[in-house]
Symmetry: C2
């Protein structure tokens, strides 16, 4: 069969889903998207996502790809698919890709953003959309800890066990922390993330902000490879996938666009 190879840019609220990846007894984003694509194209289509986000994790920008006979032009795909998707999942854009394109393996850089609502009282509008921390956080200490987690390191101490990976070495290109009013955003970009790595890095920065971990200890924690020495895995509802970068055009431009 003559196949079309297509990449799509997605946005979703993860609250109602058990993560991205297809599961037998739980509803996942992948299932929902595969059902929409299959329905629109009239054949059973498998959709590959750029990462397994966990249950409750959101995506502002998520890339996925599929190969199938597709008679709908790319510019009309978002509307055609959105008509078949629930309100909490949307396709923002679509483009053709090469046969060899793969959302995971072709990805050169990913970014996650962890959002903390840091105020004495909780705010209904941030429930399920940010992690509520009423205690004071020292942004300066958090930034120092974040700097210690930047660079190429073995991140074994900052991930959960449970997936097979060849190496636990990753390169963190940036770990930026900004406060704006009661909102603190932790933006982490890397060439790849181990299981729960973004949430463990956020938890370690939060522990530093509470003074429970000294910024100078980060180096030792990383060297130890001991998960127990680092901060906790933060709750899923504060985590957003915010970027997936590719070198191949036009996927690169599609993911760059604000669409």
């Amino acid at each position: 069969m003559d196949c079309d190879h297509i990449a799509i840019k997605l946005r979703y609220i993860g609250t109602a889903y058990h993560g991205w990846q297809r599961q037998k007894n739980a509803v996942t984003v992948q299932q929902i998207v595969e059902r929409a694509v299959s329905g629109a194209l009239g054949s059973e289509v498998k959709v590959t996502g750029c990462g397994r986000t966990d249950a409750g994790v959101h995506a502002k920008e998520y890339a996925a790809n599929f190969s199938a006979k597709c008679s709908i032009p790319c510019e009309k795909l978002p509307l055609a698919l959105n008509a078949r998707l629930p309100d909490d999942v949307a396709v923002l854009d679509a483009c053709r890709v090469s046969e060899g394109f793969h959302s995971v393996f072709s990805c050169v850089r990913k970014e996650y953003t962890y959002i903390i609502y840091n105020s004495r009282l909780r705010d209904p509008f941030y429930v399920n959309r940010a992690c509520f921390i009423p205690e004071k956080l020292d942004i300066g200490l958090m930034r120092q800890a974040a700097a210690g987690m930047t660079g190429t390191h073995d991140f074994a101490a900052l991930r959960s066990v449970g997936t097979n990976v060849k190496t636990t070495v990753r390169t963190v290109y940036g770990f930026d922390i900004q406060r704006s009013g009661d909102i603190i955003k932790l933006r982490i970009s890397a060439n790849g993330f181990l299981y729960n790595m973004a949430r463990a890095m956020a938890g370690t920065a939060v522990y530093a902000g509470h003074g429970k971990i000294g910024p100078g200890e980060i180096e030792d924690i990383l060297r130890s490879g001991n998960r127990c020495l680092a901060g906790p895995t933060m709750p899923a509802d504060g985590l957003y996938m915010t970027r997936a970068e590719y070198e191949e055009e036009p996927v690169r431009s599609m993911m760059d666009g604000r669409g």
Copy 2:
């Protein structure tokens, strides 16, 4: 009984509720708040709200008051009540008021904000939080129409029938329209709002933005008192109560605070 008179500042997501006002067969915000206050104070307490928001309407800042024997100091009331409230309703602040204070009758000025998500494709993060309009809107025309609705007028053409009011004359102090990216905010402040008035004003501005109503027609529409000539009552999920103002201290300061 020696009573304490207390005002509270509330914030809530209206999606799960049939508006503010107590109803027999539906869950409302008033019921939820009364249950929390009664539970915390150990007696049955009636809570008066500053307005009947409709089903699905949100509140960023909402004022309510009650009279009861209250042994909890005001600064501890928010935490005590929030512990008894669901995640989508929160008390932000509390203060003592005079015996004559009444959330509705003491209110000198209210503000509603209508939020439109104006983009070709819907965004999951704005579902239930804004009204999605994919068509282009001319902000200049909307602003001209808004100016026509500002001032003291008979607003009979811009409300739904269904409540008894002595007069349909109200003074709109300001109707400000701002676009920021895909978000358009319509901020309306007035000395009072008739039933569905904010949503009818928003709908009339939207019709002007689509060119369906000329800004010059607003005067005639108001003069006619004919609801059919104005724009539609916009969906509830884009509407937020954003301000309630009082002259009595310390309520005035409490509602002014960012709390």
